[in-house]
């Protein structure tokens, strides 16, 4: 996924576009991450100023939610479901395979910056497990073979 390079004026524009909503913090943070791929510290200073809250407060908000990134992810993001319904059809085994194949743990990015592996707790595909979200695309009935093909496809 291609993101914009950090640009303060652009960040201010994004904040201003969402600032007038009721409860604007999450929509602003989502929009910033959509543009830049993460919510870096300079962005938090702008949000705190715009919402008239302290930097400690916005830090508390952004770190509460698993979705928001401080650093950008790898070029591809693979989220594997770790929840019970997928566990019942072998999600743990599949996740171990993925970690071994990529040589990284949960929340880590391969050294070449190609793939970030993250857990996700339920995609609502509980009758089609094991499931995953690969670069935002839903995937069901995943197995080792298809996972390997996906990883090979990304690496190519």
């Amino acid at each position: 996924m291609a993101y914009e390079a950090w640009n303060e004026a652009r960040a201010r524009e994004i904040v201003a576009a969402h600032q007038m909503q009721e409860g604007p913090a999450l929509p602003i943070l989502h929009a910033l991450q959509e543009a830049f791929g993460s919510v870096p510290d300079p962005a938090l200073r702008i949000v705190a100023e715009a919402l008239n809250i302290s930097r400690a407060e916005i830090h508390g908000i952004v770190t509460f939610y698993h979705d928001f990134r401080h650093e950008p992810a790898g070029r591809h993001v693979l989220k594997l479901c770790r929840a019970e319904a997928c566990q019942s059809v072998g999600a743990d085994r599949l996740a171990a395979h993925a970690r071994e194949r990529l040589g990284i743990g949960w929340g880590e990015t391969t050294p070449d910056g190609a793939v970030t592996l993250e857990p996700i707790f339920c995609l609502g595909l509980c009758a089609l497990g094991p499931s995953a979200l690969a670069d935002g695309q839903v995937v069901g009935r995943l197995d080792e073979k298809r996972l390997d093909a996906m990883i090979d496809g990304i690496r190519r």
Partner: protein
Amino acid sequence: MSARLFISRDSGALAVGAEEVAQAITASAGRRGLDIQIVRTGSRGLYWLEPTIEVETPEGRIAYGPVAAGDVEGLIDADLLTGGAHALRVGRPEQIPFLKRQTRLTFARCGITDPLSIEDYRAHGGFQGLEKALRLTAPQIVDEVTQSGLRGRGGAGFPTGIKWKTVLDAVGDRKYIVCNADEGDSGTFADRMILEGDPFLLIEGMIIAGIATGATKGFIYIRSEYPHGIATTRDAIEIARKAGYLGASVHGSGHAFDLEVRAGAGAYVCGEETSLLESLEGKRGVVRAKPPLPAHKGLFGCPTVINNVLSLAAVPTVMAQGAAFYKDFGVGRSRGTMPIQLAGNIKHGGLFEAAFGITLGELVDEIGGGTASGRPVRAVQVGGPLGAYFPRALFDTPFDYEAFAARDGLIGHAGVTVFDETVDMRVQARFAMEFCAIESCGKCTPCRIGSTRGVEVIDKIGRGEAVEANLTLVKDLCNTMKFGSLCALGGFTPYPVMSAINHFPEDFGPNESGRQAAE
């Protein structure tokens, strides 16, 4: 005349290749010069048959599934467009036992109509509930909902009508309707199916709630793990607004009501209603102590109805058909129908809407057909990550709020997750604690710290360290979490843990091969 085909756009279907199937059909029809029209619908919820193609014939729709893109040429050769014979032909969907045994009220349209066609929605009975509501006074609407016996479908089972009456009676400059679409429980997907497959139903239910309580603004808080649900619901709101169902004067009634979708950000605890309200306000999703109830001081301190997707989606049926019609389904104090979700290691997984009272055994063995792996069923978790694990010995439990509570379980959001004999219940108990530790909002000490200690103690049991003493410790810890936590995350994590220990003690033996030795 062009042949009409129906292929789901539900993320369950997309996850297994529905888009590729639709593209293959379009391409093949183009090459062959066939005149076809593909309607993208929601899912009927027969997920083992997805991707499914349905074709309109004089005898009704004929279904084929599960179809892979590579099957398409062969299907068209076999006269798919007129319902011809093929190995993947499953006949009329309504005749498939899984669907035939259901009572579809909330899911009457899902999988049949185009979720973003407001004409389709109206043609299939949509907005009849709203039209009825517009002929009544606010107290009359609330009374109808109360009389129907509808209880909160999110899990708590609180009577919806009583909640609405509290908000109707509350004084406030502004009131809100909040839809909890933060469906985080593993094993559940009914909310997602409505958001993606029949969003106008939810919109209609929320408009009725607004008119009934005097609220003029509604929020639908959808988890970020549901990108298709967010996109489809946003599109549906736009269409409903253009059609005059949302805005300054709903359907020309003079009532103002508008809606907005808000995306969550990956916090499970935000499915708890007060945490969700905090999150909507733009704060950390930390649980609030009650009272004050959200009905008195909810979103931004204003009187707020906060209901689950399925509760709000049941309301149009209640209004259109009447409270007595709805109440006629069900048993005891559990009235109406429940969209049950059959998930995990199950042969026929999907959405099964039925009147309350069906037993767990019927659901798993008869309707679900047992496990997908073909091995015996060992445990079934009902009600998501905070629900109890039931052994086969409790398969006679009827699906009913009180019956599950009487057996130290809960129906929650009605997710039923099946595990075969390979499951290690100590690992499942450990996961329940681990999940609680990851997702705890941190407000209550038993939940925040107890969950981490729980993981450690269960690990000790796994290593065979002082098993009896550590089991006693886990039970004591569960007791503290149950009674010392404000919300269901810390308070209900003991359900999966204690049910695993009580019903499957052989997995908590002094050595790792404890279960095998016991068999």
